[in-house]
């Protein structure tokens, strides 16, 4: 793991959790059956920045995110959110899952999905009041989906569904946003809308972590990269860490043809 040493400010130093890091992961291992999907990963997310989690298919990107959120149970390792255990900071985290994990024929409208983001405010018995509806509509407006509020979610295109998920996360008014492949299979208009919202979140001082697959846009969109292939390969600012060398180390022999092209383009950039 020589690359890992090049990339970060030293693994040993990173073992000390920074108190103010929005998401600090230490020695995280997750396995499905006997094969680790994520092995002994350390991660320190910089506050107020946009970080891309990058790696080949099956490299454990989504698993890393899910383990950070407690959706899958890790074999070992600790997760600290803003310097405290995950369970005490739930209200400060918003998660945008992959679109494919949902049954889009579920009987619910766009606005109902966004109102799920206000779950904590609504409580068990609280009624949905005008103030909640207004807040939900405002979030839909930010992703350009206000006109779709009353539609059944199955009537939306893939990109629109993704934007609704982002609106639900916005409704949570969180400090740390974790998104799993928000740009996968969406149209250009959606990609533009989503990146616009993410950049405005950053401008508000919030932290954004995105599982990302498109190497060509990394430089345009992100401040930091986290390269993973089961174990961490490198972590740091895009300018110094997103290099042909680290990419080669991340993707190795597992590159798909399309990724080879992207890799070449990215390395040239």
């Amino acid at each position: 793991m020589s690359i890992a040493l090049i990339a970060s400010e030293g693994t040993i130093a990173n073992r000390q959790p920074q108190v103010d890091s929005p998401l600090a992961i230490r020695g995280l291992t997750v396995s499905y059956g006997q094969k680790p999907a994520v092995f002994s990963v350390d991660m320190t997310v910089q506050p107020g920045a946009m970080t891309a989690v990058i790696g080949p298919n099956g490299a454990g990107k989504s698993t890393l995110l899910k383990a950070a959120l407690g959706i899958v149970k890790p074999l070992s390792g600790q997760v600290q959110v803003f310097g405290a255990p995950l369970d005490r900071q739930r209200a400060r985290i918003a998660y945008v899952p992959q679109r494919a994990s949902i049954d889009w024929d579920f009987p619910t409208r766009v606005i109902d999905v966004v109102l799920m983001g206000l779950y904590r405010q609504l409580g068990l018995l609280g009624r949905v009041r005008a103030v909640h509806r207004a807040r939900a509509l405002e979030c839909l407006d930010r992703v350009g989906m206000r006109d779709f509020a009353e539609r059944q979610i199955g009537q939306l295109s893939g990109g629109q569904q993704q934007r609704v998920f982002l609106a639900r996360a916005l409704a949570q008014d969180a400090d740390l946003y974790l998104l799993d492949e928000p740009f996968a299979g969406v149209d250009a208009a959606t990609e533009k809308a989503i990146i616009g919202v993410l950049k405005s979140l950053r401008a508000e001082g919030r932290t954004v972590v995105v599982v990302h697959h498109d190497l060509a846009t990394v430089r345009d969109y992100f401040d930091n990269v986290f390269l993973i292939n089961t174990s961490k390969v490198a972590e740091g600012p895009v300018a110094t860490t997103f290099t042909a060398e680290t990419l080669q180390a991340t993707y190795g022999g597992r590159l798909a043809t399309a990724q080879v092209d992207q890799l070449a383009a990215a390395a040239l950039a």
């Binding site: 959120l69 407690g70 959706i71 899952p97 779950y119 059944q152």
Partner: protein, 401 residues
């Protein structure tokens, strides 16, 4: 006779049964909705079949303790305990083995039910007359229903409904997006367990009226029926409760209106009637509406293709296309276009050329995505944009104006 039954004029027992069945239907329909939304409908079948050994063991224990083996509260308590054990077995199998849920359901259901049947036979040999009609729990038996029995059902149903009101939001969230719910810190496993607990309560309460074999119908048919009519989960819950309650009431009344009609199966058939009507007639999701939509769409496709063929002077071989064109006054019987037909055909061809331009131009990406061969270009582009497209086509092509 049926009129009397519907107006609760058939006597004390029939009235008790009707009220009990209505309450049970409401509770079962609304509880079943969450099961249906969570896509775990068949788990209820495993739970209900797992009640039988509990009923039998409770009977045996009560008789051995010198009590009345037929005490309903005791029997239901026994059924609840064994249903719970069945549920625990089921979730253990799913979580800790490679068995898929459907296989695990099959295993738990058949083993518990088989064990229950064995116990039933044992009870039969314990001394005649004391058997107390435990087979009644298989398909329900309402003949000897007592006031106390009705009270058990009423209280059970009311508690179930109150819990649904309390848990509807987390249960909906977990059903829709369990990973998101987990990420927000909701206790997903415990919410699922609570849902199963509700299903179990409904099952146990419904043993007397519908019986353990058919209770799954009362849990699943109402939400499936309700789903045809609405796109909102809260309304599905409400409608499913109404459908369930209605089925319970009408079914109980019908079975009381003639001798020897079994209550449980009639209730199930009534709810199936509601389902059939919804399947056929519901707007939007119903079969008839879908058929009409398909026919309308087919007509549009044929008309459009016919017009394009007319515009390009191609012969039309398809009888349906020709018939539609003729009926719309666009072509004569021999396939020659009328004046109106020629005008519409020219417009169709021009629009097709415009679409070609739009679809090859990156600037019109959003509009191009809407192309389906049928849509009028005026619905996606402004008049100015169309004029611009027309300039791109240019007149040399000889596009008829």
């Amino acid at each position: 006779m049926l009129g009397d039954a519907l107006l609760l004029q058939l006597g004390y027992n029939a009235t008790l049964v009707a009220i009990g069945a209505t309450l049970l239907g409401i509770a079962a329909g609304s509880t079943g909705t969450f099961l249906f939304l969570r896509k775990r409908a068949l788990v209820s079948d495993a739970i209900s079949h797992a009640t039988l050994p509990g009923v039998c063991l409770a009977f045996i224990v009560m008789v051995m303790l010198g009590g009345d083996g037929r005490n309903l509260v005791g029997l239901l308590l026994g059924s609840a305990i064994s249903a719970w054990i069945g549920l625990v077995c089921l979730s253990w199998l799913v979580r800790h083995t490679r068995l898929a849920e459907d296989a695990a359901i099959g295993a738990v259901l058949s083993v518990f039910f088989g064990f229950g049947i064995v116990l039933l036979t044992v009870i039969q040999t314990m001394g005649s007359g004391r058997q107390a009609g435990l087979e009644g729990f298989l398909l329900g038996s309402t003949a000897g229903m007592l006031w106390a029995d009705a009270m058990v059902i009423a209280i059970g149903g009311a508690v179930t409904l109150a819990l649904i009101l309390l848990l509807r939001r987390p249960m909906t969230l977990v059903a829709f997006d369990p990973e998101y719910a987990q990420a927000r810190g909701l206790p997903v496993a415990r919410i699922d367990l609570a849902m199963m607990g509700l299903v179990m309560a409904v099952t146990v309460v419904g043993l007397k009226i519908v019986g353990l074999i058919l209770i799954v119908a009362l849990l699943i048919i109402p939400p499936v029926t309700a789903r045809f009519w609405t796109e909102r989960s809260d309304q599905v819950v409400l409608l499913a409760g109404i459908v369930g309650g209605l089925s319970g009431f009408v079914g109980a009344a019908v079975s009381a209106s003639a001798p020897n009609l079994p209550t449980g199966p009639i209730i199930v058939l009534v709810s199936f009637g509601c389902f059939t009507v919804s399947l056929l007639l519901a707007p939007g999701r119903g079969a008839l509406a879908a058929l009409l939509r398909h026919l309308r769409f087919q007509k549009r496709v044929h008309l459009r293709q016919g017009l394009l063929a007319l515009a390009q002077g191609q012969p039309i071989y398809e009888a349906l296309t020709l018939r539609l064109l003729r009926r719309a006054g666009l072509a004569r019987a021999d396939g020659v276009a009328t004046d109106m037909g020629r005008a519409r055909a020219a417009k169709a061809l021009r629009d097709e050329r415009r679409w070609q331009v739009v679809r090859s131009d990156q600037a019109h990406e959003a509009a191009a995505a809407l192309y389906d061969g049928l849509r009028d270009i005026e619905t996606v582009l402004t008049r100015d944009q169309i004029a611009e497209v027309d300039r791109a086509i240019g007149s040399p092509e000889g596009v008829p104006a």
